[in-house]
Symmetry: C2
């Protein structure tokens, strides 16, 4: 019986990955439901404990209760561990232990890892995982240290260390959780260049994905980047700059957002809010005060999201790039879809369409269901639905007021968004004898 | 000089088509600006005359002034002629005159027709055009006659004939214009089965496109339908039924829409409002009173639209079908995209993506611009922007209150929506030595 179940799981890495996620979420919910996780005098409903656990494990950051003022230090650590597991990848964590115990990593485990990191190349996975952990911990350590130094100006050293670690880890993992209370996120630091720049760098590093990070580190030796890395970096920077310019334009005179700030602060805030929808979720200004056009821009940036195999969500930068060049190829009457002088094979283009349409369908369905369950503006439900699916965590204020039905909808959106269409499909699909990654041979990663 | 200009036009049918459209719109605007087009004591601004002319020529039906109470009988006839030219196709009309004059139709003219009807088969175009005119006039005549008979119960015979012709032509051409005044559209006939059923049939016939109509007429002889016709008919009926069920579900208890109606009337209204977003634009209930989820459903139906080579807009039923089967193929790990046991060639799939993404981009851009120029809810601007681009004409009430900038945005959306991405691209593109229709060899029409 046990052996049968083991065989059933081993036969499908996506299924094991999905069930592993579910297990971690449930453990997280139970821990967060315990009184020890809460500040004195607080109590939490099961649905809210589940919502918080899903939001942390799926590194989203949407919150139904205020993290800073509602949970105890123990609760914060539970959230941070869930973020770390969900962000750096719980499969990577599992292998970390395996490596520490000098156990040989089995083919099955490597297949699971492959799914988790969205990597097509089976060889070198193990080496990659070791590096993933190294890079993630190094960046988190550096980020936490720098945040700690900065926070020491505002609070006692112990608290600064605690805040430094929490926000360093949370921001690198694109988790969107913060401890500053009252749903204010980082708004105290709107005029602080150090916090702004550090946050942006951590968001970018977390969102590029470990494959790109590894590629960047090896650049000194190889003097070349893979197509995948080039595309991920180009799209990331392009959207970052264009987004910041448009936000600056739309919000320059908005008295509730950028209006009262000096020119330099305006630029910092525009840069941060161009980056945070992809898919960090921290803010220094009130998202609900942004103009409608800006909120719509954020929805689009959230939907595009970050790069594959990263701590964030969305349809991914490479998917976006492939779609754009496919459209250009048709307009030019060309047979082949060409991206940075590489032909993209048909299968990859189809996969890009599939990811995009499927994601669009989920967001549309979520938005429509929230329209029915919540009494809120359309922009409000569209924004929250996209934020959940792309695991961003930005909110116009709807989430804390959600009905239970609404909470369940967002829980499903976050879960589906973090796992992605292919993992989900192969996890529940009756037949998966010919999973897509077996056909794959290209150099670029979609979804 | 004249010869050069003629050569320049002849070298690009899309360019000729686009400029022809512009010319007709300008003539229409000038005619509608004349005092003879207006009811006594009324005057119209140039921007409003232009808007009305574009709306009529692009068979949209969005109105900045109330058609029934603002324009004179002459003005109504101007609108109706523009609708007829824009709907049945001004190129087809041109050939109609050519045929009447027994002039030989040149290759150039046939190429223009080919573009206009989105037909890939150059041969048989002439025969098709003759049929197009026959079918269109026959259906319009039948529709007008039936409407006249019905309206004779409510008004004097002369007026009933006038109303019968106007609404028969307007509804078959998916134009969305009506004469009932006060922006009420057909709301007097909400409980009238005859008007509801007749309208739905005319909308469907107009929206299937002439290719499908011809195919249906020949069915008695051939006993088979082309893949294109099968797909167009299936998607049309499927969306019609599913849309009606969802509308019934969402609006059943809404006291401002279906709530007060009897069961049969509820069903009629649900059916009509499932069909009218694709892309007729007539209504019997107030669109702005619909629940948010229903309005969102209408936005989706409007975006999908009708079939290629018809009187309506949107990304088209066949495009939608190809995208769906492409996604299914990827999920199943299949190499080929299969639709009703026919493989769809890669080029067609890419064209479907292109049409969809381009349309999406235009609607998103329009929505964002309207968000800036208009002080209105997000659903309001999204709805109006989609309605304009898909040449539907449904409105939540924003259009009559538009700023001049907003009117210009909708004018551009209607124009781009009616011409479609490929005609537009080849009309303005510097190089079009390898236009797409030269490569085409498939059996299904996209866009
Ligand atoms: K996040
Ligand atoms: K219309």
């Amino acid at each position: 019986m046990y052996k049968q179940a083991k065989g059933w799981l081993a036969s499908s890495p996506p299924r094991a990955l999905t069930l592993g996620f579910v297990a971690i979420i449930l453990v997280g919910a139970i821990l967060l439901k315990l009184p020890i996780s809460l500040k004195d005098g607080q109590s939490i409903r099961w649905i809210d404990a589940l919502f918080t656990s899903v939001s942390a494990t799926c590194v989203t950051g949407l919150v139904v209760v205020d993290t800073g003022t509602f949970f105890s230090v123990f609760g914060h650590w539970v959230i941070l561990v869930l973020v770390q597991i969900g962000g750096v990848g719980f499969m990577t964590m599992g292998t970390l232990f395996a490596l520490f115990l000098r156990r040989k990593v089995s083919l099955k485990e490597r297949l699971i890892l492959q799914e988790s990191l969205n990597q097509n190349n089976l060889e070198g996975i193990i080496r990659l995982v070791r590096r993933v952990i190294n890079y993630a911990l190094t960046i988190e350590l550096a980020g936490s240290l720098l945040f700690t130094l900065r926070f020491m100006l505002d609070m006692p050293p112990g608290r600064a260390l605690y805040y430094g670690i929490f926000h360093g880890v949370s921001i690198f993992n694109n988790a969107g959780f913060d401890l500053f209370g009252d749903y204010r996120s980082m708004s105290n630091y709107i005029s602080d260049p150090f916090v702004n720049i550090l946050s942006i760098i951590l968001i970018i590093l977390g969102g590029l994905g470990f494959v790109v990070l590894a590629d960047l580190v090896e650049y000194r030796r190889n003097r070349r980047l893979s197509l995948h890395s080039k595309v991920a970096i180009c799209v990331t920077l392009l959207l970052f700059v264009v987004g910041a310019i448009v936000i600056l334009l739309f919000e320059f005179t908005n008295e509730k957002t950028l209006g009262p700030l000096g020119t330099a602060d305006k630029i910092f805030a525009a840069l941060l809010h161009s980056m945070t929808p992809r898919s960090a979720g921290i803010t220094t200004i009130d998202v609900s005060s942004l103009r409608q056009a800006t909120q719509f821009l954020l929805v689009i940036l959230m939907f595009i999201g970050v790069s594959p195999g990263s701590t964030g969500g969305g349809i991914k930068t490479t998917t976006f790039a492939v779609l754009i060049v496919a459209v250009l190829a048709v307009f030019r009457g060309r047979e082949d879809v060409v991206l940075l002088r590489h032909t993209i094979e048909r299968e990859r283009v189809y996969k890009a369409i599939t990811v995009t349409l499927f994601s669009f369908l989920i967001v549309v369905a979520g938005t429509m269901l929230l329209s029915v369950t919540e009494n809120h503006t359309f922009m409000g439900v569209l924004f929250e639905s996209t934020s959940a699916f792309a695991t961003v965590g930005l909110s116009t204020g709807l989430t804390p007021e959600l009905t239970d039905a609404g909470k369940l909808i967002l829980i499903l959106l976050m879960f589906m968004g973090r796992l992605g269409p292919f993992t989900l499909f192969y996890a529940v699909g009756p037949k998966h004898g010919r999973p897509l990654y077996r056909h794959a041979e290209g150099k670029i990663i979609i979804g």
